[in-house]
Structures are given as C-alpha cells and as structure tokens.
C-alpha cells in the first residue's frame, strides 16, 4: 500500500551485480552446454573420421584431441592461481569454477578418445591414469560442495569455530572447580577428560566422526545418572555429571564441524598433488612423443 520511488539500475549495480546462483547453474549452465558440445563434436568426429589402421594418439586427429586436452589441463590447473591472485578486473571466480567443473568433466571424453583406447605400461598411460584420478577426486569435490555446506551451517548454529572452542574452555573451567570435592579416582576421570586435546586425533577419527578412547565419554559413563538423589540436588557429582554432559555435546558439535570441514577438504589433498604429478607426466608424455616422432 505504498509508492516506492523508482530506481532504475544504476552504474554501481551494473558494476557489481551478483546473481544469486550456484557455480553449478552459473549463467544458465553456460559451461555445461559448452562442455556438452565439445564432447559431442569429439564423439561424432571420432566415429566420422576414418583413421587407419585404427584410432590412436599419433594420428592428426589424435594430435588435435591431445592438443585440446593438454591446453585444457594447463588452463584447469591455473584455477589455483586465479583463486589466490586477487587482481582488479571483471572476473568472477564462480564463473571460473563453473567452467573448471564442466570442462574438467569433458576432459574424460577428450582424453579417452585421444588414447584411442590404447593403454599400456608406459608414461603415456601414466598421464592418462593420473588425469582420471584428478577428475574422479574432482567429482567427489563437486558432490560434497553441492551437498555438505547446508549441514555445516546447521551444525554451527551461529557459532564460529573459535566460539565453539571458547565455549568448551568455559565449560572446562567450571568443570575443574566443580570437580574439586570429588575423590581421587573420580577426579582422575575428570582430569583425563580435561587433558585430552580436542584436535589431537588422527585423520581417521576426524573423517569418520568416531572417537574411540574419548575420555569424556568414559567419564560420562562412570557418572551415569544416579536416581537415588533428587533431581537438581547440589551434590558435586550431579554438578560434574551435568557439566560433563554439556562438555560432551559441545565436543560433539566441534567434532561434527571438523568432520564436515575435513570431508569438504580431504579431496584437495589428492586433487592438487596429483595435478602437479599429472603436469609432470604430461610434460614427459609430450616430450617423448616428439622425441620418437
């Protein structure tokens, strides 16, 4: 029920308009379309063009596909630089990611057709295998990027990572003073829980979210509910039990956070080193091809 003054799009908004859409659907899936066309042309021409005796990487057609593939690999690996080199200009990392994903997938078709399905125990096949490993780890990356962020946000419940760690430390301080009246054996359990580092666990625990030998869980099991005392009594054991319960749930939040972050990042530890290996193998492959020409 009101009149809003009309404000046509002005210079500033043109300058920085950012469409609210994911990298996968960027610009109506422009790069998916480009990649599909590329694959289609490659597949159709593969069957259209007759190479004798059979398709192989050394024919003019194979060289063409190989050149396209090699250029793509080099360009795809430049994403790592683009991401870190914040220069001025009208580029968008989202567009780069979008192109990276779809053109990277197209590389499966181009690379495979380039081989002419001739694989063996040599540097050429090594380059192909490394490429496929990079692409497969990338597919995992796309899958977790598309599915996990929402659960990361749900778990955080508006807390930052350092706030979670601080909250745990606050519980620990209270736990420490609450445990003072306890006996030797009981306080040892609490001390063990307090002394166990939050981040000193292996990659296995972090990824699976299963923390065997968790001292907090053990202490909590020891101080199991004792219904002989009235609820909310001032007994130090009840206080410790309540605090241990809070510690456990805070720890769980941190662990879930670490798990999701680890799942989101773990593939990069394959994707990037193997990319570097791929670039080396690719160089060897290209040089050897020209050497034996």
């Amino acid at each position: 029920m009101a009149t809003i003054p009309d404000q046509p799009q002005n210079q500033r908004e043109r300058r920085q308009s950012s469409d609210h859409e994911s990298f996968l659907s960027h610009r109506n899936m422009r790069w998916l379309k480009v990649a599909l066309v590329l694959c289609l042309v490659a597949i159709v021409s593969y069957f259209w063009i007759d190479v004798s005796p059979r398709h192989n990487g050394g024919s003019w057609y194979g060289y063409t596909l190989g050149t396209i593939g090699a250029l793509l690999i080099v360009w795809l690996s430049l994403l790592g630089i683009r991401k870190r080199n914040i220069t001025a200009g009208r580029w968008s990392l989202k567009a780069w990611t979008s192109a990276h994903v779809y053109l990277g997938l197209a590389l499966i078709v181009i690379g495979t057709l380039h081989t002419g399905f001739q694989l063996g125990w040599n540097v050429h096949t090594l380059a192909y295998v490394l490429m496929m490993v990079v692409i497969l780890s990338g597919i995992y990356g796309v899958a977790v990027y598309a599915t996990l962020p929402a659960s990361l946000s749900n778990n955080a419940r508006e807390m930052t990572r350092s706030q979670m760690v601080e909250a745990l430390a606050a519980i620990d301080r209270q736990l420490q003073s609450a445990a003072q009246p306890l006996g030797r054996e009981e306080s040892d359990l609490v001390i063990a829980a307090l002394e166990q580092g939050t981040f000193d666990w292996g990659i296995g625990s972090r990824l699976s979210g299963r923390y065997r030998k968790c001292a907090t869980t053990r202490a909590l099991a020891y101080f199991a509910d004792d219904w002989s005392r009235p609820v909310g009594s001032d007994d130090p054991k009840d206080k410790v039990r309540a605090l241990l319960g809070r510690r456990k749930s805070q720890l769980d939040q941190i662990r879930r956070h670490l798990r999701i972050r680890a799942l989101l990042e773990v593939w990069l530890y394959i994707h990037i080193p193997v990319t570097i290996a791929l670039l080396a193998a690719l160089t060897a492959h290209v040089i050897s091809v020209f050497y034996y020409w």
Partner: protein, 822 residues
C-alpha cells in the same frame, strides 16, 4: 601576582588544562599576562593522559599550521605529554591542580571562580576549555561523598583482599568487575550491582564473560539491586526483597557521566539551540553571551588537538587587544576561494555567501568560517552539470550567485524547474541518505557552496531557522516529485503548511490495519515494513525505503487501512492530514485518476502474495520470517550488504583472503561471525547504512560516502576509535597497516611470506619491527572495493556463488526471497 584587597586577582583564569587550555596559558605566560590555569585532576591534559599507553596521537588536519607556544606533532602519547609538562614548567606557567570549579559568578572584570573545597579565584576574564567529557555521575544515595567511592579504575591489579562493589551495568562496570576478579590470588570479593534484571546496555561478549564468572563463583552479580546508603566499610542495598547490608571496602561507581552543558549554562552562557549537539553561542573572538567568559576547544565544537591549541593562542591574543589577528585557517580558506572567478578577499567571500544564501544569514562570522572549512565552493558555467540523477551524495548545496535548473523528467531533459539564487538544493540526499533524485545544471554562470553532510547537520543543529527552512523546502520538493510534473508550488502550499514531522522508533506502528484514520505519510529518513494479518499471523508484504509514500489508498477510495505499516529502523515521516489531501485530489481530477490506476496495480501485487498463503502457506511464512530476520540484522538501514548463502558456502574463506589482498593486507569482513536464518548468513561486514552510525562522531570528519555509495574512511583518520564504538554491527576494526608481503609467485615457488590473505598478527608485528616501521592503528572498514575495477573482491573471489551483495529494496521482495528459499 596582582593583589587587590588581599585577594589574588588575575587578568585571566583558564579552566581546563587540555590542549586548548595549555596553549592559552602558555600564550598568556609568554605575553606576561597574569593568569592561572585550573585543572580538576592531579595532572595536565587528562583526556590525552587517559589514552592507552604508547598510543600514537595524530596531528590532523595536516594543512593547518600550528600556532602555539607549545610544540605538538604526531607521536606517542608519552612524548607529547612529557613535552608539554616540560614546556609548561620552563615557561613559568601558573598551574593549580586538583581544583574542581563548582561555579563562576560575578561579571566581566571581576569573576569569582569557586573551587570545590578550596579558595575562590578572582579573575577579570575567564577562558573555559573544559572539553566535552563532563564529570562522572555520583551515586545518588546518602554517604555518596565517602572516600571509599571511586569513579575510575586504572589498574585492577593493585587491590588485594578487599570486598569491592562495582555499581553500573554498562561495559565500563562489567570490565572493571572482571578485571578485579580475574586473578584469584588477589583474593578480592567482587560484586556488581545492576538496577535492572539484564545487562542490556553492555556488549554481549562482556555479558557472556560476566555470566560465566558468576557461574564459576568469581563475581557476585546482584540484579534488581541499587545502593541505598554508603557507610564506612558497609553498603546498604535496596533489593527486590527489601534492604540488605553487605561488607564493602571499596565502591567503584561507573554510572556514566554528565555532559558539561548544565555547568556551562549555569555560568550564564547561552547555547545556539536546545539540540543535544548544539554548542555555546560565540563571537568571532570566542566570547560567549556572558561577557568576559570565553569558550574554546571541544566545548566550542573543535575536537581536534591542533584546532584547540590554535584557539588557545588566538583567544589570549584577542584578550590582549590584538583584534586584527587572522585565524590560522585563513590560508586554507584563501585556497578554497581561489578556485572561484573574480578577485575577492576571504572576508568578502564569506560575506557574499552569508548574505546571499538564505539559510546562512543567521550565522556568526565564526560559525560561517567553520562551516566554510567543512564545505567546498565551485563556479559553474551555464549548462554545466552539478550532479546527475542517481549519483550518490548526501551533501547539500547553497546558491550564492546565479541559478540552477532541475531536470524533473528523466525521459526528457528539456523539462526543467528553476531554483533561484539564495536557495538550496540536494537536501533530499542529505535527509534521506539516498541517491540524487534528478540532474541539476547551472542555468547561468553560478557560484555554489557544497556543505558536507556533517557540516549541513551541524548547521541545522545550531541554527534553528536554517533547519526550518531546509525542512519546509524538502517537504515541498518531495511532494512535487511524488506527483510528477503537473503540480506547482501553489498547489501544494496548503499541504506543506499542514505537514508535520514525526519521529518513529524502530518497530513503532504508524498505520494500523483496519483503522479508519485518513492521514497520508511520506518517509523522510529510515524505512518501513508493510505487514498484513493473514490467517492469524502477520505476513511481511513489502519494504519501503525513504522517499516512499504510504497511506494514500484510504483517502482515494475511503476504505479502512488494509495493512499495517511500521518502522524497520528509527525513522522520520512527514504526516499530511487526510483532509488537505482530499482537497488537493478534488481540485486535480488528473491526479485522482493517476492514484486510482496506481492503486489497482498495487492491489494486484497484494493479492498475488495473499493467494499463495492458502496453498503454499509455508513458503509465505518462510519469506516473512526471512524478511524479518534480515531487517533485525540491519538490512533495513543498509544500502548495500554482503550476504552468504550457507547452502553454497564451503567455508574456504577466500572472500576474507580476497578482501585482505585488495586492501593493504587486512580483511574488513568476518565471514564466520554473524547471524544466520534459513541458511542465509549476515556476516560481520559493513552495511553502508543510509545514515551511518560511524559518521556520528568522527573528529577529523574522515568518514565519507564515496561515488559508488560506499561509506569509507579516508587517510585523515586519527585512530580515536569512536566509529568502532558507534557501529552497532561491529564491522570496524582498529589496526595498523601491515608491511608488504612477498609476491604470490615467490610464495607459490619458494614459500616466501605468509601466503594469500591476512597475515597473522605475529608475522605482521615481527616483519614491521624488522623493517623498523611503526604505523599507527587506524580505523579500517569495508569500502566496497571502491576504485577497484570489477567491484567488491569478496563476491568476485567466491568460488561457489555463496557470497552475494544486495540492496534491501531489491532483495526484500517476495519473488526474490521465495525464489532464493526454494
């Protein structure tokens, strides 16, 4: 010392030993004028004394020459204070410390300055340089004068084995209590009293720490409790359940402070207006309405050290009869005016502007000078554009010579409305904080002055007639703009006459659904949200930015209000009585037809939102809740805000790294912190508010709105931290510019330096030390990457598309939000 009737009688008494008072005393000593410098505390220059240790004090404005017998240049707090102490001692300056002035009586030639608990001082003239800090509020209960009460806590580590009670529930009180209880070895019993039941005035981080300390038994927090009586060693408390007496060795009272205005007015000095921001009325020689009493420094409206010191010098020179002294800012003004055609002196130009521009006619020459320092002047040839439609800008223009033309119709620049000599323009941008509504050209050779937002607001606060004139003109122009061409000033004169300005609190309802009232409103500043009860719950219909009109449907078709309109943030609306509006519509049938057509289209929009409520109820609820969440988080007053879609955000923090790498290596955004609703996250990052809170109290006026609408801090920042405290969203940080990092390539190849993004604090500190650089801490905030081709780096650098920048009027719409929620 001149002695008369056995009493010391000075030529001048200077109250307050800040930069202004010190400089005045030094000048008086140099001239051999009998004087006394009176200071409340036991040291000189208390405000600078209280700065944190080692703080780098700045000397802005750099183009202003220092005119004082004391030295001052940018440097460490200790060095500046030592220099002054030494020069005051060697300059034979009379200082009386520990003397709080309680009253000034008498008249010019014979003032009596009463000193609390001391001998009165007699002087012919008084210079007041007491600043704006004021005195701490005293406890209001019996025993408030006892020595166990103190109003400041310098070092919480110096108290042991004491029962200490902190009174006051603000940040100062909480921080004191936490400090006193921090080390259990000190063995203090610390209590904090709060009159209310929650700590609403304090930062949430402080409240959290306090609650934690309370849970751990380190601090006793007494809620709904106030001191009733102070006795030696005891404190009587007024609690909800009656009186209670506790053991108490020390009371720390942190209940705010009293601005000095009451004291100043008590001395017979008039202020320019009732406004809280008003200053004492002053003559060109700093004399107040009480003859013989002069006011200089921050109390006179000059918060910068250099200004203060210059005024201290000038006022004593004036007192000494040197009336031809030109102020130190004369060369700055001369340079400003040199750009204008024709050869005139500074005084002549000042008079031209003051006489010709109507709203300035009431100003004193001193105020005129000051206003001019914060303004710019320019000459335009006929036809030259002064500003264009949709340019951002919050300054106001006054026409000193010539006239301008307003292009009222964006489609046809030949349709113009003239604004004559002496009038103003641009005031809509000033009041609403929004973009320019139309393009303005010079009609003939024209000379205009552009008053910065700060200068214009100060003018309106100090000159009530200027405020009235600006308001009347802006209401009239807003009406004319609303109804398009077709109407003349005469048509709306009656409406302008009947218009009334109404302040609206955030959340206050202006129009209630179903009510029968017929008034029409225009939003002058702030913004409103429109809600309608659908199925027993309020549903968010739309967001109205400043400049919008609402409430006119009721008078067009006579129906009751069909929706509720309430303020999203603190706002100001213009209310037009319904009858005057009806009269206008009756006179102008074309206008009524236009209004009817507009209404039909709006009904269509409303019914579109109302219809899915039955079928897709949850989508509408979601939209409504999301809109409300965003408004609660300051989007209502934002012009451009960064949002993160947490369904896409992988937490790589590339936005923060990009921010740091595009701005001297410091990030202006904290992605992780901030509120989230339905996976829409509002990170800690500048909203570029329509009326920025940070601008409210910036001594060097370093915070400005830039050409793309961004609010930015320029390099005259003195690092005082006011903006950081004033920002309700916590987006300003104080930090030193870090040293240059090694290039990206050398990091990639050789691992040199800390890599992309903000370097760790320790790296910055170590590298700066190694390079022997010392840079002061200054305020740092988002500038929307102004001047960087491509726009904000945070958005460009997001790999998944999670980071988006939005404007409220574009984003808070049903289509946008429901599409994004889906």
């Amino acid at each position: 010392m001149p002695v008369e009737n056995g009493k010391a009688n000075y030529r001048v008494a200077i109250i307050g030993s800040g930069p202004a008072g010190l400089s005045a005393a030094a000048r008086a000593a140099a001239l051999g004028m009998s004087h006394m410098l009176i200071e409340k505390t036991d040291h000189l220059s208390d405000t600078i004394f209280k700065y944190q240790k080692g703080k780098h004090v700045m000397a802005t404005p750099s183009n202003l020459v220092l005119r004082s017998d004391l030295d001052f240049d940018a440097g460490k707090r200790e060095f500046i204070l030592d220099t002054w102490d030494e020069q005051i001692a060697s300059g034979k300056i009379n200082v009386q410390l520990n003397s709080e002035v309680s009253a000034i009586t008498g008249a010019a030639g014979n003032f009596v300055i009463e000193i609390k608990g001391g001998v009165p001082i007699h002087a012919e003239a008084v210079i007041m340089a007491i600043g704006t800090q004021g005195n701490p509020n005293k406890l209001r209960c019996p025993g408030a004068d006892l020595p166990l009460i103190q109003y400041q806590l310098d070092d919480p580590g110096e108290y042991f084995d004491e029962h200490i009670t902190v009174v006051g529930s603000g940040d100062a009180g909480i921080e004191n209590a936490l400090g006193l209880a921090a080390d259990p070895k000190q063995n203090n019993v610390v209590s904090i009293l709060n009159r209310g039941s929650d700590f609403a005035r304090a930062k949430s981080a402080n409240v959290k720490l306090l609650e934690e300390a309370e849970a751990a038994g380190r601090i006793f927090v007494r809620r709904e409790t106030a001191p009733a009586e102070v006795r030696p060693g005891e404190l009587v408390l007024e609690t909800r359940d009656g009186q209670e007496t506790i053991h108490c060795d020390r009371i720390i009272a942190r209940t705010g402070s009293q601005p000095p205005r009451g004291f100043v007015e008590g001395c017979g000095i008039h202020f320019t207006s009732e406004d809280r921001g008003a200053f004492p009325k002053l003559s060109p020689s700093f004399e107040t309405t009480q003859q013989g009493i002069h006011v200089i420094g921050a109390l006179a409206g000059y918060p910068l050290i250099k200004h203060c010191m210059n005024q201290g010098y000038d006022v004593v020179e004036f007192l000494n009869g040197n009336l031809d002294l030109k102020p130190a800012d004369e060369p700055i003004l001369a340079e400003k005016f040199s750009a204008l055609p024709g050869v005139r002196t500074v005084d002549q130009w000042l008079e031209t502007f003051r006489n010709n521009v109507v709203i300035l006619q009431e100003l004193s020459p001193l105020q005129m000078r000051e206003l001019m320092l914060d303004s710019t002047v320019a000459g335009y040839d006929a036809g030259e554009v002064i500003f264009e439609r949709n340019d951002p800008g919050s300054s106001m223009f006054g026409i000193a010579e010539g006239s301008v033309l307003v292009e009222v119709n964006p489609a046809d620049p030949t349709i113009t409305v003239p604004i004559e000599e002496g009038s103003i323009f641009g005031e809509v941008g000033l009041i609403s904080g929004r973009r320019r509504g139309s393009t303005i050209r010079a009609a003939e050779p024209t000379i205009v002055m552009e008053l910065s937002r700060t200068a214009a607001l100060k003018l309106m606060a100090t000159a009530p007639s200027a405020a009235r004139a600006v308001n009347a003109i802006s209401i009239e122009r807003q009406l004319l703009q609303m109804f398009g061409s077709g109407l003349t000033k005469a048509d709306v004169a009656q409406l302008v006459e009947a218009a009334e300005l109404v302040d609206v609190r955030a959340g206050q309802v202006v129009v209630t659904e179903g009510a029968e009232d017929k008034d029409v409103y225009v939003i002058r500043r702030g913004s409103m949200i429109v809600e309608k009860m659908i199925g027993g719950a309020p549903v968010f219909l739309s967001y109205l930015p400043a400049g919008s009109c609402f409430g006119e449907m009721a008078i067009v078709d006579g129906s009751p209000r069909n929706a509720t309109v309430k303020a999203a943030i603190k706002s100001e609306v213009v209310r037009f009585p319904g009858e005057a509006f009806v009269a206008l519509l009756d006179r102008k049938p074309a206008l009524r037809a236009k209004a009817m057509a507009e209404m039909a289209s709006r009904r269509e929009v409303n019914s579109f939102i109302e219809s899915p409520k039955d079928s897709f109820g949850s989508a509408v609820d979601m939209y409504s809740e999301t809109a409300r969440f965003l408004i609660d988080n300051g989007i209502g007053e934002a012009t451009d805000v960064l949002l993160i879609d947490e369904k896409l955000c992988v937490g790589c923090d590339n936005c923060e790294k990009a921010c740091a790498d595009s701005h001297d290596g410091l990030s202006r955004l904290d992605r992780e912190a901030g509120r989230t609703y339905a996976h829409l996250h509002v990170p800690t990052s500048c909203r570029h508010c329509e009326h920025p809170h940070c601008m409210a109290d910036c001594p060097p006026n370093a915070i400005k709105r830039g050409p793309d609408g961004e609010v930015f801090i320029d390099d005259t920042c003195i690092g005082c931290g006011n903006c950081q405290r004033n920002c309700p969203y916590g987006v300003i940080r104080m930090d030193a510019k870090p040293p240059e990092k090694p290039s990206l390539l050398s990091w990639l190849m050789f691992g040199a330096g800390p890599g992309p993004g903000e370097a760790s604090y320790s790296w910055r500190k170590k590298t700066a030390e190694k390079q022997g650089r010392e840079s002061p801490k200054v305020a740092i905030k988002c500038d929307m990457c102004s001047g960087i081709d491509g726009g904000p780096a945070c958005v460009r650098a997001c790999p998944t598309g999670a980071a988006i920048r939005v404007t409220p009027e574009k984003f808070l719409t049903f289509t946008k939000l429901s599409e994004d929620a889906g």
